[in-house]
């Protein structure tokens, strides 16, 4: 059988980078096969995906990358579904989105409707062609993107980190779709470090090493619970830190999925809220931090209505993709910013920053620029910059989606330590029902429009 994709000793270094990101990679993918590339955060999975699609900038390259089928007049050799659907949806309606690639291939308009309809059916998205893309769920957006690539008739379809966006049911749907595509002879390359849900359709596992090489891999085991020791009981006598009563809000970017919810969080409690993307998790946290006023009901933080200016230093908020909050020129300055703004004395400031850097295992990076660190290290800096203030309440808005198990374990350990030492109350939100941390006292989900809470 002639392979669709063949890499022989392929190496690549980004422009200006001193070391290779990919080094002497050998890989063959045949029609109807599904290969999974695993590797830690920042190991080069996305780089390899971009290389196969031909989207890498001209850096240093070595070896060969061969595609058995070149793109024709009306088709392409490789389709690449990247990580974030929000930045890949370029049109306003489902039909226009799928047709975007056909427009670029200069296909006649009379040919488009049939090809678009067929691609949508293959991707399992049965929606009118004029349905607005803004009203799709995350799972539907992902399917739409798959259709937008299938319409171009690729021989190889690459998925870059689907686990970063899809929850467990979404990944199971993707697994069924990949099985169908394989039956039709399409080759699939998955780049993901979280592949348990997709394991049934994967023919070969590969592991990207830290040096950039590719070695034979194996199906990853279920991640071990990151919490050392048993979960301490939550004393009932402690006072409530967060009190939410019959809360309803009007959010700028659409109404949340919930309404009239009530819950309390006690001092020192660790809670996780799990809900689909777009359900209103961020809206709830923004409301707790005082950035959105309730339309109905009430919120009390530390016994008072939340006001951002009064919560500085007391409430820590780690946003989705926390890398975007980094702005200083050194890690030390980044982490010490909150202490400088809350008026900490210089001696205290240095001691606290050094301690948190050590706890996060990034003390050796104190004089480095946060912008030149690896993806995982940047996350640790962002977390340290919030933890250094020793907030009494810490809101974590799904900030570690896409991080591999090694970093997730380290982050979990840090949060547990902070909670045990300082009594910090934690509220962590996640879109992934399969990744409930084992160290929480309480699990919350949104069922219908209500909040369902259960103690562990």
């Amino acid at each position: 059988m002639t392979p669709i994709l063949s890499l022989r000793g392929y190496s690549y270094a980004w422009p200006g980078a001193p070391s290779w990101t990919l080094r002497e990679v050998d890989l063959e993918v045949n029609p109807g096969e599904c290969h999974c590339l695993m590797g830690g955060t920042g190991s080069g999975k996305s780089t390899l995906a971009l290389a196969v699609k031909g989207l890498l900038p001209a850096g240093r390259q070595g070896g060969n990358l061969l595609l058995n089928r070149a793109g024709g007049e009306d088709s392409v050799a490789v389709g690449l579904v990247m990580q974030n659907p929000e930045t890949q949806l370029l049109a306003e309606t489902v039909g226009a989105e799928v047709a975007f690639g056909l427009e670029n291939l200069c296909r006649p308009p009379q040919e488009m409707t049939q090809r678009v309809t067929q691609a949508l059916a293959t991707a399992g998205l049965n929606l009118p062609l004029d349905h607005p893309t803004s009203r799709l769920s995350m799972g539907q957006k992902y399917r739409l993107l798959i259709a937008a690539h299938l319409v171009l008739g690729p021989a190889l379809l690459i998925f870059d980190e689907p686990g970063g966006q899809l929850d467990s049911p979404g990944l199971r749907c993707l697994s069924a779709l990949i099985a169908e595509l394989k039956e039709k002879g399409l080759a699939v390359l998955l780049c993901d470090h979280r592949s348990q849900e997709l394991a049934g359709v994967i023919d070969r596992f590969w592991q990207l090493t830290e040096a950039g090489g590719l070695a034979a891999g194996a199906m990853p085991l279920e991640p071990a619970p990151p919490l050392p020791g048993a979960l301490p009981p939550l004393p009932l006598s402690r006072k409530s830190l967060v009190e939410v009563t019959n809360l309803e809000v009007d959010a700028d970017d659409g109404a949340p999925a919930w309404a009239g919810i009530s819950f309390t969080l006690q001092e020192g409690e660790r809670a996780v809220l799990c809900a689909d993307n777009g359900a209103g998790k961020t809206t709830l946290l923004r409301c707790l931090a005082g950035f959105i006023a309730p339309r109905r009901g009430s919120v009390k933080i530390f016994g008072d209505s939340p006001k951002p200016e009064k919560l500085r230093g007391k409430l820590g908020f780690l946003v989705q993709n926390p890398l975007r909050q980094l702005f200083e020129t050194t890690v030390f300055d980044e982490v010490s910013f909150v202490l400088r703004r809350t008026g900490a004395a210089n001696a205290t400031l240095s001691a606290r920053v050094e301690r948190i850097l050590q706890l996060c295992d990034i003390a050796h990076l104190a004089r480095s620029s946060p912008h030149q660190l690896s993806y995982g290290q940047k996350h640790l800096v962002a977390l340290a910059a919030v933890l250094v203030a020793e907030p009494r309440l810490l809101l974590l808005d799904d900030p570690f989606a896409g991080l591999d198990g090694r970093y997730l374990s380290r982050v979990s350990q840090l949060l547990v330590n902070l909670n045990e030492e300082k009594g910090t109350t934690l509220l962590w939100t996640t879109h992934d029902r399969g990744s409930f941390p084992s160290w929480v006292h309480r699990r919350m989900t949104i069922e219908g429009r209500s909040l369902v809470s259960s103690f562990c």
Binding site: L55, L90, M112
Partner: protein, 222 residues
């Protein structure tokens, strides 16, 4: 509320935005003319006339009340800031009139763009622009309009995270000059980085679907 706004739609029954009453080409032309007129206008009477014209334009673009309310809050904040700066620089007697006039002009200069971005379908704008601009430039401009809300959300997230990290960038903080360094340092700098990253991601997504393979593109008939 301004009378014409009272009739503005919130959304149609099926959840889709109400259809605009102007073609994309006409809306684009009117947007350009109204914004340009607001920039070059000097007298209050011309600005009053332009305000009425903008009101009609908003109605014809079928802007919903929610979008209008959000824009109104931003315009109010912008006008307060601009007028405040005039008062600080020139004093109450000499600064109030010019400050209010400039604020009014800014609102009128941006309102047609808001109506265009919110009311007219993006592929319609792209098609209209492609008649007078190279297709790549038309695509880039229409994408800039489409992704403006996403960029705004990104900037808002950075703003809120920095406020809670202690940055003095709340509106009341900015009345003190020394806090403006926080504004540029902790908000503007990361926001510019985010804007560049967003542009790179969008460009990569477009190229992954063969945008740029040929100099011209055909058009989806839907």
């Amino acid at each position: 509320m301004f009378p014409v706004f009272a009739k503005l739609p919130s959304s149609s029954a099926d959840g889709k935005a109400a259809s605009p009453l102007l073609s994309p080409g006409t809306a684009l032309t009117l947007c350009f003319v109204l914004s340009l007129a607001a920039v070059i206008a000097h007298s209050a009477s011309v600005l009053l006339f332009l305000s009425l014209a903008d009101g009609v334009f908003l109605y014809l673009c079928r802007i919903n009340r929610h979008s209008l309310w959000r824009a109104g809050k931003i315009f109010l904040w912008q006008s307060t800031l601009v007028t405040g700066l005039y008062l600080l620089r020139f004093g109450v007697a000499a600064g109030l009139g010019p400050g209010l006039l400039i604020s009014w002009k800014l609102v009128l200069a941006f309102t047609p763009g808001l109506a265009l971005a919110q009311g007219i379908p993006q592929n319609g704008i792209e098609k209209a622009m492609a008649r007078i601009l190279p297709q790549r430039m038309a695509f880039a401009l229409s994408m800039s309009i489409k992704f403006l809300p996403l960029l705004t959300r990104e900037i808002r997230a950075v703003y809120e995270a920095q406020v809670l990290r202690g940055a003095r960038i709340l509106p009341r903080d900015l009345w003190r000059w020394r806090n403006w360094s926080d504004f540029f340092h902790s908000l503007i700098a990361p926001s510019v980085v985010q804007a560049m990253l967003l542009a790179e991601n969008i460009a990569q997504a477009a190229r992954s679907r063969e945008f740029g393979r040929y100099p011209r593109r055909t058009i989806w008939p839907g």
